[in-house]
């Protein structure tokens, strides 16, 4: 195992050495130095701020939805305070716009760019021991395209809103008198942002891996990012085409999606989901990558079944292209097509299950530190497992006929997107925060936020499964009184969830004002980002770092004198079979 291992030679980068005065945050000053930066780390930080703001907006809309549904006839959006903003617009229209924007902003502005663009930008080059991504200018332009797309969304909101649902189904979207064109243009531009990021990562990972880092010595986060990038580059253009066709149908009535002009609305659904189902994996695959890192590092144990985990990412990316039809099981597709899509859907559940088993096996006999990121990772596994398993009810045709477009579906995808991606994103942010900003947050606060998010999430979304199987349709501004109890429970949960998220934000922001500096290797990780200082210097590494096994924790030991993890010299290291139970000195 240790054969061919090279000592991590660079003195300045060694953990334990004093942090250099200058880092990427301080090497140049002023607003312009950020606006025109080509540094992947600064772009990552700008993305982090951007997606967080988008998340805040979409999250507040979600709270608005939940509060409105406290009463069967609708409550919150009827109240005077809201009416003061919305004027005499019918409450149901307001509700429809609120849930549309919640979904559209969450999907296009938050979840898709969250892990890849914010964490990925920061981490991919450092994990490769590189100075930057392959195309730094393309990288910056991707961020500005994101801003530009976000601007279009805000314009749509301020113009006449958007009421089509984030799915833009035709012929509703071709006839709605809200700002469909502004919003679809926004999504079109965001698509380019996503393609640029994906393309950049593919080239970076293909061409800039350092000597010694073979494909199977890459950290799993890079595998996940690579798989995600493939989807971004291959699937997003289809969304672009679809949205352009939608705009053409709306303005020129070309007769493709609207039956009024001899178009077929179901064609739109095929086109849309051909992108948007793979997009689900754009949302969840990077989360898998984050969790693989978190579980391994905080268990101080090699990831179990590295190859299975790596291959499963690629398998998911490829199979994910073949299952879009499962969003349309009640659309009236031919029975043969429907059954084929159902079969393919089951096949994609296998690689996801493999990952869960591998994470658990990684924890087995590890040395687990229950840090904030680890707690988030555990929450992730719990919630994602529920999300994944309930997908089986929906992939099964007979039951999907009942559950389709009900709250069961809403609960299912929130377990995957929020319980999965959002929780992984938070776990990732807590994990790499000390690296990004050189500051450590309060662990107690972090764990409290994870606990609140966990409880709030379950209270919000578990009742929605039952609402759905009892027949409550989604996207309803009002509902039958028999559903009220479960709706109220769900609304209360959403407030707890919201509180948990604010606690997380507070804990992180507060750490920025702390005087104490985080050490280079906060958690005892073995991937390359832990070999540079916290925060990293502008060029990441003074010298190209030596590439090591990313999951070999045996030579990283806790030094109780300096209170940090240090890498012991390879020659002092014992062979695995000679390892004592406690390797600390």
């Amino acid at each position: 195992m240790s054969a061919g291992k090279i000592s991590s030679g660079s003195e300045i980068d060694d953990p334990g050495y004093p942090t250099p005065e200058e880092n990427y945050l301080t090497n140049s000053k002023g607003l312009l130095s950020w606006i025109f930066t080509l540094d992947h780390k600064r772009i990552g930080v700008m993305y982090l701020v951007g997606v967080s703001v988008a998340f805040l907006v979409a999250g507040l809309l979600a709270i608005g939805i939940r509060l409105h549904l406290m009463s069967p006839d609708g409550w919150f959006l009827e109240t005077g305070a809201v009416k003061a903003i919305t004027g005499d617009k019918p409450t149901n229209d307001v509700y429809n716009q609120v849930f549309t924007l919640h979904g559209a902003i969450m999907v296009f502005l938050f979840i898709i760019p969250s892990v890849p663009a914010a964490l990925g930008n920061f981490l991919v080059p450092i994990m490769l021991g590189a100075k930057d991504v392959a195309f730094p200018r393309l990288n910056l332009s991707s961020f500005y395209l994101w801003m530009f797309g976000a601007f279009f969304f805000i314009s749509a909101l301020l113009a006449s809103g958007l009421d089509t649902g984030w799915t833009f189904y035709t012929p509703y979207s071709t006839t709605s008198n809200t700002s469909v064109i502004l919003a679809t243009s926004g999504a079109f531009i965001l698509g380019f942002s996503s393609i640029f990021t994906g393309l950049n990562f593919i080239v970076t990972i293909n061409t800039m891996r350092p000597p010694g880092m073979t494909w199977f010595r890459m950290p799993l986060f890079l595998w996940a990012t690579y798989a995600t990038s493939i989807i971004q580059v291959l699937a997003t253009p289809v969304l672009g085409i679809t949205l352009l066709l939608l705009i053409a149908e709306r303005t020129m009535h070309i007769g493709i999606f609207d039956p009024q002009y001899n178009g077929d609305p179901v064609t739109f659904q095929h086109f849309f989901w051909f992108y948007s189902h793979p997009a689900v994996y754009i949302m969840i695959l990077p989360a898998f990558g984050v969790i693989s890192e978190l579980i391994s590092v905080h268990s101080h144990k090699r990831i179990f079944g590295y190859r299975f985990v790596a291959y499963s990412s690629i398998a998911i990316a490829l199979l994910g292209f073949l299952v879009w039809g499962h969003h349309m099981f009640t659309s009236g597709m031919s029975p043969v097509t429907t059954i084929i899509f159902s079969a393919l859907t089951f096949s994609v559940s296998v690689p996801s299950a493999i990952k869960v088993f591998n994470w658990l096996a990684t924890m087995y006999k590890g040395s687990i530190s229950l840090t904030t990121p680890m707690v988030y990772a555990i929450v992730f596994i719990f919630l994602f497992t529920i999300g994944g398993l309930t997908g089986l009810h929906l992939g099964t045709l007979a039951t999907d006929q009942h559950l389709h477009d009900s709250y069961f579906v809403v609960a299912h995808f929130h377990f995957v997107m929020v319980g999965g991606t959002l929780v992984a994103f938070l776990g990732g942010v807590f994990h790499w925060w000390p690296k990004m900003f050189g500051k450590m947050y309060s662990e107690k606060g972090g764990i409290a936020s994870a606990a609140l998010v966990f409880i709030g999430f379950l209270v919000t979304f578990l009742p929605q499964f039952i609402l759905g199987s009892r027949g409550m349709p989604r996207r309803y501004a009002t509902y039958d009184p028999e559903f009220q109890t479960l709706h109220v429970a769900s609304s209360i949960g959403s407030l707890i969830l919201g509180l948990g998220l604010f606690v997380a934000l507070f804990v992180l922001l507060k750490s920025l004002f702390s005087k104490e500096r985080a050490p280079a290797n906060m958690w005892g990780g073995a991937t390359l980002e832990w070999a540079c200082t916290s925060p990293p210097p502008f060029y990441n590494f003074q010298r190209a770092p030596a590439v090591d096994d990313p999951y070999d924790f045996t030579d990283i030991v806790w030094d109780s004198v300096s209170e940090r993890y240090v890498r012991v010299e390879p020659e002092r290291k014992l062979a695995p079979e000679e390892q004592p139970a406690h390797a600390g000195e």
């Binding site: 509703y172 001899n262 179990f304 299950a353 493999i354 555990i378 099964t396 009942h402 027949g471």
Partner: protein, 389 residues
Amino acid sequence: MFSVPNLLADEASGLFFPESASTFSQQSDTVFYAITIVCVLFFIPITIALFGFASKYKKAKGEQAESQVDHNTKLELIWSVGPSFLLIAMFYFGARGFMEQRTIPEGAYEIGVKATRWNWSFNYGGTTQNSELHVVKDEPTKLVMTADTVIHSLFIPAFRVKKDVVPGRFNYMWFRATKASEKLSDEELAARKQVYKDASESWSYEKEGYTEDGYAFYDLYCTEYCGKDHSMMQTVVVVHETREELEAWVEEKGKRQPGVDPVTYGRKLYESRGCKSCHSLEPGVKLAGPSYAGSFGTSRELTDGSSVTMDYGYIKESIEDPKAKIVKGYAGVNMPSYKGMLSTDDIYCLAQFIKSLNPNAAKQEAEEADSGAAVAETGTEADVTSASE
């Protein structure tokens, strides 16, 4: 042909499901429960391992892991391939149930469905169209469905069936209801109706739990988002004990009954034929179309600047050719034409109903003669006479 032992699917409403009232609901629930059991059987060990490992292997900082084992190909193959067999079983039973839903038996009782924003209209053949879905117990019912402008989806939770209703194409659905709707006794129904009559309110399905004909019902929802009143696009399903009972109901709904005055019948048409979703009865309340209140006999300004008196003739024209004369402020509203869907008697009754909403209509009594003549031309007078005999 397809039978899974019905182990858990409860006849009565359990925690997870509404009442089970079709042959599909029992199958579907059995599959649901079977999948849920498999999920729980996986979830419990996963959770025990997750929390168990997290507490058992929680170590102080710096302690090395007990093991650095990084793979076990045999184990990994088992947990990759093993669950696949369960997935194949789920797929199989799901697909079988689905195929049965897609194989429509011959001789099914056929009902046409038209979904508009935001109304359901069920066509029972002849002139009977109604906003309620009525079917027969133990007999297959086939729905032939289409929509006018946007996609809707017809969902009956108690039957566990759902199918999108797409403009520009026909989608089909079938089911076999298993439980007839309970019916109120005539006295009870009359008593309840009296309350509404006294308060001059319209019947509340939600409060009563019975239709206006006294039947208990199952909910029918629209589940494809279709705009403002998507959540209000609901109606009821009534299951009749016998085919005769259903046919009698259809027959009755097809025409105005002797002794029913035109205003009452007009109100019924207003409620059942979709008028009410776009035309309010309160003065000044604008829905998609103008309010009916106080409009009869008044002069209406049109989009082209001219004006027209709202009389029987104008009402008939607006029902059959809504785009001919559009009231100012409602340009671009797409009311569907009801030509051929309402008899002249129906239109007469609707007009009478609208007239009853204008307290000043007495003043226009004088003009009645003219309108009467217009109606007579179209033969309504004859219908009215025959209907009231």
